[in-house]
Symmetry: C2
Subunit: 367 residues, 2 copies
């Protein structure tokens, strides 16, 4: 499946914080065809450091497909022969420098000053992301969403849809989800993630565009995020039972500068991610997640839910999803559940999603 | 119980890395009385950021007793009417600036240069810590250890004792222990902890003594360590189900500078800890933990074991202890277990240790 990034322009967007963003531009992808009634659409919402590239390849030469390619495509669980699938980049997308990402965030030019927003970019919320998606759906002629589905922060957006536009959607698929709000512990984790960033002297309070960027802080933060999304099962599979040296000639017993292989690998992964990431955007996305809560709006919801936590998740613990499930059921809402088996941690919400293909297919086709 | 810090001088110590430390000084405390045979001693080994202050108070006015005061004292599980209890500060103790800590580490004066060791301080190991403790036991007239007991890094030292001086001890009590070696995932966690430290420009490669110290990096690292030793159950108990603002007049929706209460609390705790901590020492202790392994020396062990993991531990997962228990039992060694119930995470190894009082007492008095 060859896919194409398109750009959705929105002349103005009223944000939850009270400010208005002008000349918003957001990247999106669609797979499949919208029917005449405009009601066969499924919206895919992405995770913290994700993008709208949920499935397919940009060209035949592309090595990696989109993150949920295992379940989105012709004949797959989210069947593009049957559904019109839409996916959009978030506001303040973490990967602001990625080739195929289009986002309005701190690195964007503020039309009022003709300079990057930088530290002046407002706090944005999951609700704001959803409002952009709603405007995109309207522009595409989508009248009704068969489902909204996403992993992690994507699950938060799907739950926000259920609270914000209850008449517009039938189903929510919440993968590695937090429940109906952010636990204080998870909120603290997001602050801890951001600490290295703001510690980098190049961060300069967020006003670093056109100067040296806070690359070392960004690498440390992305290393921390990557680490916490994983699990000891993953580590053992790739690095064995006991830590291996990063370099056979540099014994960690001889110098604290000598590293272990797992640390070297995580650092390398973080460096790769840092090349396309923006520090200010990470701070905005972290805050958007911290502010997430649909707990006081359960009474508005009409959708049916499928919750898919991952058993080895050390970041968004399955216990959080269990609380959300109980709260929805207590309000009389229908919640099906499927536990993702695996030892890959939070990332199993992406890497092992094929294991949930049948429950997802069944949930989408049931009435 | 009023206790007193004493200093143990050791003229030289051969380290695992091959170097020799001269004029080593280590703080220690003892509780109870050594019997004539010198065989009623119990050694308590401390955790990553712990000290030799395991029990009692330095004066009547002391607000907090030592960390395991709930189980060490007259008539308690580790009964000082019966046992002679010893506890010593580690080499490169994290709390190098704490009033009652005596340690030889990076902040100490190198007798060869008359300047702080700083970045030249060698890598030290759990085995080196144990060798200092063995020399201290010899100096005190201790012929035999009834038990060695400790939480977390203390459990590693207790296990190292069983491998290194098998004829010298009868019992090991390993609380919130990692098993017989450090998992790659845990090794990576220690590197992640240290990232903010080395990012602080005041760190200066570790040669910061007599100059501005890397306080901001130290605070970020200690915040991360504190956070990861806790659990969402703790967070809910103290901060409620949903995150509270740090300041009622500063809505997190209005600025990313506005914080949540849990973040403000963790930052305050980290600042307090940073006042007495030393950055270089954290790097040395992290490496000592990374190097821990007794896996290849199980055949040398003779002790009986009591393993006490904590069910809500997100830092040293109970799964690690389970692997260690299986490996010891497979080698024909006796391992009893007790699971610490609670929702306080890794810190339950300190804060809920009273729940293990009966199993510990039983283990110590059984033959």
């Amino acid at each position: 499946m060859i896919v194409q990034k398109q750009t959705f322009p929105l002349s103005s967007l009223q944000l939850a914080c009270g400010r208005t963003l002008h000349d918003v531009r957001i990247g999106y992808e669609t797979y499949g065809t919208l029917n005449a009634a405009g009601d066969n659409a499924i919206l895919i919402t992405h995770y913290f450091s994700g993008t709208s590239h949920a499935a397919g390849r940009f060209s035949e030469a592309d090595v990696e497909p989109g993150y949920w390619d295992a379940i989105i495509g012709p004949g797959k669980a989210i069947d593009t022969d049957r559904y019109f699938v839409i996916s959009a980049d978030s506001l303040a997308n973490v990967n602001a420098k990625m080739k195929h990402v289009v986002t309005t965030g701190p690195a964007s030019i503020d039309p009022q000053t003709q300079k990057p927003y930088a530290s002046s970019f407002p706090v944005v919320t999951i609700g704001d992301f959803v409002d952009v998606q709603k405007a995109l759906c309207d522009a595409l002629g989508v009248k009704h969403l068969h489902a909204v589905a996403g992993p992690s922060m994507g699950a938060m957006q799907a739950l926000e849809w259920a609270a914000r536009y209850p008449a517009m959607l039938d189903r929510v698929i919440a993968v590695v989800p937090p429940g109906l709000y952010i636990e204080p512990y998870l909120s603290a984790m997001l602050d801890v993630w951001c600490s290295p960033l703001v510690l980098d002297s190049d961060f300069a309070g967020g006003d670093y565009y056109g100067r040296a960027e806070p690359v070392r802080g960004l690498v440390a933060t992305l290393k921390l995020i990557t680490f916490m999304a994983l699990h000891h099962g993953w580590a053992r599979r790739f690095f064995g039972a006991q830590p291996r040296w990063a370099d056979d000639t540099r014994d960690p017993l001889q110098s604290i500068e000598h590293r272990y292989a797992i640390d070297a690998t995580l650092t390398e992964v973080a460096r790769d991610r840092a090349r396309v990431a923006d520090a200010n955007s990470i701070l905005r996305i972290a805050r958007a997640v911290q502010l997430f809560s649909v707990r006081d709006r359960i009474a508005d919801m009409r959708a049916r839910f499928l919750f898919i936590p991952a058993e080895s998740d050390l970041l968004i613990l399955p216990a959080y999803a269990e609380r959300g499930i109980s709260e929805l059921r207590a309000a009389g809402l229908s919640v099906e559940t499927f536990l993702l088996k695996g030892d890959g941690g939070h990332l199993d919400g992406l890497q092992q999603i094929a294991r949930a293909a049948d429950p997802i297919r069944g949930f989408l086709t049931s009435s």
